[in-house]
């Protein structure tokens, strides 16, 4: 009984190490194959359109309500201390340092990351990835590299959009609804944010972009392995997609803590 448990634990550890090795090779291949033999500009632009432009609506919607909630909560907390004038600082710093990068990454994972995992997973189970190999086309370059590049470009831009829209959402509740002076609100926003905060948010967005694209493409690419118990059918794609979204979200939060630890 004890021996069996140890064996199971050992087997799980070996599987874990194998997965880390596989994902690392996948990531480095994705980076290197991006430029060799040529940069796939049109494919990258297609993915920027899909990951970036098509996520704008959901980002704006999430950001405006996040900003409005922050404005509302912030106002009623600060008003007790007579500091409602600092609402602009509270909203802007919360958004730019933390909520902007994290929430936009989670929203993009839900919208584009799941689609990446499902699309590549279907390519895997319908032998399209095998077909690429038989045509001597590198499947990692074909499926992952453009998505990685597009994520690196899109995530910081969408985060910036989230930040700006969120600050506007805070303005709506703080200034328009609750009567905070608009000049003071904007002045506090501008004064409280320095370049280090924006750069920190930018670094986080970049890292999240890499994490989401790598995890989602990896899960789809190896859908036939991760869903081995479910066979190589639709079930393995659904398992891969779920895994991709859950793992991406968990890794976003973990890496957010690590980056913040080094930034503060």
């Amino acid at each position: 009984m004890f021996k069996q448990r140890i064996e199971k634990l050992g087997s799980a550890c070996i599987d874990g190490i194998r997965s880390i090795g596989r994902i690392s090779i996948f990531f480095f291949q994705g980076i290197c194959r991006n430029f060799v033999p040529f940069v796939q500009i049109s494919k990258i632009m297609e993915q920027v359109w899909f990951i970036g432009a098509k996520s704008m609506f959901v980002i704006v919607l999430t950001a405006i309500f996040t900003g409005m909630v922050l404005g509302l909560q912030g106002y009623y907390t600060l008003v007790d201390f007579g500091s409602e004038a600092t609402l602009g600082s509270a909203v802007a710093m919360t958004l730019i340092r933390e909520l902007g990068p994290v929430l936009s990454a989670i929203m993009i994972t839900a919208r584009a990351g799941s689609a990446m995992a499902a699309e590549i997973g279907v390519m895997r189970i319908s032998e399209q990835i095998d077909a690429l190999e038989t045509m001597d086309i590198n499947p990692v370059r074909f499926t992952f590299s453009p998505r990685l590049s597009a994520s690196i470009m899109s995530f910081p831009l969408l985060t910036a959009l989230f930040d700006v829209t969120g600050i506007f959402g805070g303005y709506l509740t703080g200034v328009v609804m609750l009567g905070v002076n608009r000049y003071i609100y904007m002045d506090r926003v501008i004064r409280s944010i320095d370049l280090a905060d924006v750069a920190g948010g930018f670094v986080k967005a970049l890292v999240f972009g890499v994490i989401v694209s790598t995890m989602c493409c990896y899960k789809g690419f190896f859908a036939h392995i991760s869903g081995a118990q479910a066979g190589q059918g639709a079930k393995s794609v659904s398992l891969a997609t779920t895994d991709a979204v859950v793992n991406s979200c968990v890794l976003i939060l973990i890496s957010d803590y690590i980056i913040t630890f080094f930034l503060v």
Partner: protein
Amino acid sequence: MGQPYIELIDIHKSFSANHVLDGVNLTIEKGLVTCIIGKSGTGKSVLIKHIIGLIHADSGQVCVDGLPMNQMDNNQTHRFHKQISYMFQDNALFDFLTVWENIALPLTEKKKMPMDQIRQRVKEKMLALEISKHENKYPGQLSGGIRKRVALARALITEPVAVLFDEPTSGLDPVRRNSVHAMISTYQREFGFTAVIVSHDIPQIFTISQRVAMLDQGKIIYFGKSDEIFQTDNETVKAFISGKETGKET
């Protein structure tokens, strides 16, 4: 006996406890059509996937022009892949690409040929396979027969030395089945490529192939000229080609 092009030597392959190939020896001769027959689930597709490198043998060797594949360097492997095409059982067409893009993909991805030349070559293949009017459609908008033709056009676009067909007529009606056979035969004669066909279409497939190999219980139990298979003494082969049950299920 023609000149050997691909040789499979003592190939063993298992998936967990399931021993699929148990010492397969097979020689594919240059310029000929070799047909692989056998019951469903005997490992015919697994066998030809060893040739293209999609599956690696547990033991044994695949040699191309006498050179073992596992001893090839990167350049030799790329060169071999350029010479060979594979037509999948379910076509494996990219559903997000149009017919034109699917056919041109092996050329456009390499960017080694000028675009004008690619256009010309794709146009020729589409004309020959009578799929020109479908060039802007997506695979999902096509019938099974047209999809097969698109897959065949994609397999032939690089003008390969060898083409591997994995059940090219599965799911087609008898008329379309005959037309796919005729197409393969015509193009094989025209371009002179070596062909390996996994098929269940007995006896029609014997009319377009020069060699037949039968796989049973992980081994090649018959290999010979297609017009001689009906004279074989092997009971399993006789029973299989006449559609009789032998009682030995794999």
